[in-house]
């Protein structure tokens, strides 16, 4: 059992040196830090090997928690101790945070009450405040001792070493209650290991900070890409939406102009030609007037067709889709020679934009049938489903090969219409070639 000695040796130099030499011969180190110049006691080969192994193991870890655990474990093993603790300082470096206990039964109330300990002069405290190894084999009578708080485990022998970081002491590691006490050899071992441990802890913290930074940056970049991609898409959709709206608005204005002036003027001209014809009994003259009247009538008819194709006036009414489709089919019907069926059941609440979109899609599909299908029957249906409106246009004609893109050459209108349907949040499909005829089907949400 080694006698306790104060850390700051007050004895004369010679006496201390001779005591050390004596202890070195005995194979044990002297307590307390030897004065500078004193040869350190040799470490046993076994101890060196163990130190080496511990240092390697710790160096491989980069998780701070693992480093601390493994580190304290090694300290216990190296010094032949069963009890120990490791403290890290708080951010302000004014308190020790009791980080880890090993091998000691500690009252949970004690831990709760002493989660952090202000730095002060005490057996453990001086390790941190003075940044030096503290060895004591009679702790209760040690001059640095300031007594124990309630619930503190009994400490008889003590060896503590600071954890020296880059910018100063970051904490401490201590081992305790070795039955035979501690010597300079243990102090040297603990000193060596604690240096490595401090570096490992700082590295682990740096690793963790960098990992978090990278993770944060990656997260933000992903967010930015997603956001900017989303924003870009939304901006384009809005632009397209505005384009379509502007297109419809222009059509409405042109239709209004045709409606307001040009058609009426032609109608007035036709009436006047009739009136003129009645003013004469000259058959030849009447004949001429009749020719003129026919020509003007033809112009009027074409203009009227143009107006309806541009924007059916009926679309403005609540049942606009049904009325416009009806008028449209009526105009086509006789000329085309196709049998026409119309069945539309939609609510009054359908917004005008949706009515127009669906009308245009149906208009395009119908035009294709009339132009290419050589059909005998054309059926147009519409109804409500899933908070939206569906429209079907089918015929019993030739059909066309669908597959290379949406439409064969000359049928780009339907590709555009699919674009319109999708822009409005819906879809459009074409089925053809699997049997007679073609089926164009679309759905648009009611919004």
């Amino acid at each position: 059992m080694l006698e306790a000695a104060p850390e700051h040796g007050a004895r004369p130099h010679d006496e201390r040196v001779s005591r050390q030499r004596h202890r070195a011969r005995a194979g044990v180190g002297s307590p307390g830090n030897p004065p500078p110049g004193t040869p350190m006691p040799a470490l046993f080969e076994g101890q060196l090997a163990l130190l080496h192994a511990c240092v390697l193991e710790i160096a491989r870890l980069h998780d701070a928690h693992q480093v601390i655990n493994k580190g304290l474990d090694c300290c216990l093993e190296l010094t032949g101790s069963t009890a120990g603790f490791l403290d890290l300082l708080d951010e302000d470096r004014t308190h020790r945070e009791m980080t880890l206990f090993m091998g000691v039964e500690v009252d949970p109330l004690f831990i709760a009450a002493h989660r952090t300990i202000p730095l002060q002069r005490s057996v453990a405290g001086v390790v941190v405040t003075e940044g030096r190894i503290k060895l004591s084999n009679q702790v209760t009578s040690d001059p640095d001792s300031s007594g124990w708080p309630d619930g503190h485990p009994e400490i008889r022998t003590f060896l503590g070493a600071p954890l020296q970081g880059r910018d100063g002491v970051i904490g401490m590691v201590a081992v305790a209650n070795r039955a035979d006490g501690y010597d300079q050899g243990h102090a040297r071992l603990l000193g060596a290991l604690s240096s490595h441990l401090a570096v490992a802890i700082e590295n682990a913290r740096m690793y963790e900070r960098q990992r978090q930074t990278i993770s944060g940056l990656e997260g933000r970049q992903a967010e930015l890409s997603a956001t900017s991609a989303r924003d870009a898409i939304n901006a384009r959709l809005r632009a397209l939406d505005q384009l379509v709206a502007a297109q419809e608005e222009e059509r409405r204005r042109i239709a209004d102009d045709i409606h307001a002036d040009s058609l009426q003027v032609l109608d007035a001209a036709i009436l006047r030609l009739e009136m003129l014809s009645r003013r004469t009994s000259d058959a030849a003259l009447q004949g001429q007037i009749s020719e003129v009247r026919a020509a003007v009538g033809d112009a009027e008819d074409r203009l009227r067709h143009l107006l309806f194709n541009l924007r059916p006036p009926a679309i403005d009414a609540p049942q606009g889709l049904r009325l416009a489709l009806h008028d449209h089919l009526e105009r086509i019907g006789e000329a085309s020679g196709i049998r026409l069926e119309l069945d539309v059941e939609v609510s009054d609440e359908v917004p005008i934009q949706v009515r127009l979109t669906l009308f245009r899609i149906a208009q395009e599909a119908i035009a294709n049938v009339v132009k290419h299908a050589q059909a005998s029957l054309l059926r147009v249906q519409a109804g409500m489903k899933d908070e939206g409106i569906w429209v079907r246009v089918e015929d019993d004609g030739r059909g066309f090969p669908v597959g290379h893109g949406l439409s064969p050459a000359g049928h780009f209108g339907l590709t555009e219409m699919r674009g319109r349907a999708e822009l409005a949040g819906g879809w459009l499909t074409i089925r053809s070639g699997e049997g007679p005829g073609t089926l164009v089907e679309c759905w648009v949400p009611q919004r």
Binding site: D267, M275, R278
Partner: protein, 133 residues
């Protein structure tokens, strides 16, 4: 056979059409052109003042054709309204009939004779109505 001329007013906001209808009416032996208007407001004023037998009323008017028809009928119940329009879409037709028009003509398809007979028929049905108290 009528005892007197049919008193007709013409309402249309397109000048070329209005003048054509005016000439059509004045050119007829038994029609008297009593006035013409180009807005719903003017049409109602005219009807209230002159109480014509028939008003030839364009559907697309500033102030609304249906509005004009209602005002005319309210002011002068014996006046019959013949609605005339560039487009005979069913929505417009039913709206005008609901507002009190007794017949509807489409400018593109209606001939001069169609217009004349429509006016005559309207005048005849007006005579059948009991006089307003």
């Amino acid at each position: 056979m009528r005892s007197r001329s049919i008193r007709v007013a013409v309402v249309d906001d397109v000048p070329t059409m209005r003048s054509t209808l005016e000439d059509l009416v004045s050119g007829h032996r038994w029609f008297d052109l009593v006035g013409s208007a180009s807005t719903a407001e003017e049409a109602i004023e005219l009807a209230c003042l002159l109480r014509p037998d028939v008003v030839l009323l364009d559907v697309r008017l500033p102030g609304g054709g249906a509005q004009a028809a209602r005002g005319i009928r309210a002011c002068s119940p014996r006046t019959n309204v013949v609605a005339i329009s560039v487009l005979a879409d069913r929505h417009s037709v039913s709206a005008m009939e609901a507002a009190g028009a007794c017949s509807y003509l489409e400018k593109g398809t209606a001939t001069m004779l169609d217009i004349v007979s429509a006016i005559e028929r309207a005048a005849a049905s007006a005579e059948d109505l009991p006089s307003a108290p």
